[in-house]
């Protein structure tokens, strides 16, 4: 099976964070997730969407279903063209924050998902790609 259509959600304000996590929950449900996985996925989407609003002001969340051999899951990509992250390993430390947050956003989000990858170029933006596989 191949990838289903992608859902693109523009992130420009705090209201878009709510939209992104609700759409993420819906797609996850369609992909066969249930129970606490749905909450975990929408919480993770909320955190990366908020990162976009706080640090880059605008960007997008792209949701898709991944169907691989023997497993399926949800892929979340959070992309922005903001200032980027100077030191990714520092940003991934619990308690580190340059924003108004608790400094748990990125490291906490990684704990919520099965796969988590972050690429960033100072001045060019940040892309977070994360996946949750159905158990």
């Amino acid at each position: 099976m191949s990838l289903k259509a992608e859902i693109h959600i523009p992130i420009n304000s705090d209201a878009d964070i709510v939209t992104a996590r609700q759409q993420g929950r819906e797609l996850a449900q369609q992909a066969g997730f249930n129970g606490s996985d749905l909450t975990v996925i929408s919480t993770a989407i909320s955190e990366v969407a908020r990162n976009i609003v706080e640090h880059a002001r605008s960007g997008e969340i792209v949701l898709s279903v991944a169907n691989g051999p023997g497993r399926s899951g949800l892929v979340v990509v959070a992309r922005d063209h903001g200032p980027g992250i100077l030191d990714i390993s520092l940003a991934m430390q619990d308690g580190y924050s340059t924003g108004k947050g608790l400094g748990l956003g990125l490291p906490g989000t990684r704990r919520l998902m099965d796969e988590f990858e972050i690429t960033s170029k100072p001045g060019a933006g940040t892309t977070v790609t994360m996946k949750k596989w159905r158990r």
Binding site: R25, L38, T39, S42, T43, R50, L102, G108, T109, R111
Partner: protein
């Protein structure tokens, strides 16, 4: 949508009705802070039963609500955190600190009665 705040005796009960944006959460914080003063409330309950996500911003704002309320002489209890939400919060590393919680509205009211040492008086007081 603004969160409705119900005045019951000496307590304020904020029943969240739907998912809230960051702005709406901050509005709730400010509304509660103002109403604690206006109604001279001794206790605040925030009912989060309908929330299917509590992310870092929501937790931070609830903590702020409790802390501001405390400085204004009111105790705050968060009620109705769903089991899946609690699970996700723990995984994310979020804690409510010393903010009081209770299973539901009934338990929350009982806890406020204890904390404010008013017994059943919230029912009869004007």
């Amino acid at each position: 949508m603004r969160v409705p705040i119900l005045k019951q005796g000496g307590y304020l009960i904020a029943s969240i009705q739907s998912a809230l944006s960051d702005y709406e959460l901050l509005q709730l914080r400010d509304d509660l802070s103002a109403q604690v003063g206006r109604f001279r409330s001794r206790g605040v309950i925030v009912d989060v039963t309908v929330l299917d996500v509590m992310d870092s911003f929501a937790v931070r704002t609830l903590r702020a609500i409790a802390q501001i309320g405390h400085m204004r002489g009111a105790e705050t209890v968060i009620v109705g955190i769903q089991p899946e939400v609690a699970f996700a919060m723990v995984q994310l590393g979020l804690a409510l600190g010393d903010v009081e919680t209770a299973l539901d509205l009934e338990e929350g009211l009982a806890l406020l009665d204890l904390r404010t040492k008013r017994g059943e008086s919230h029912v009869t007081e004007s």
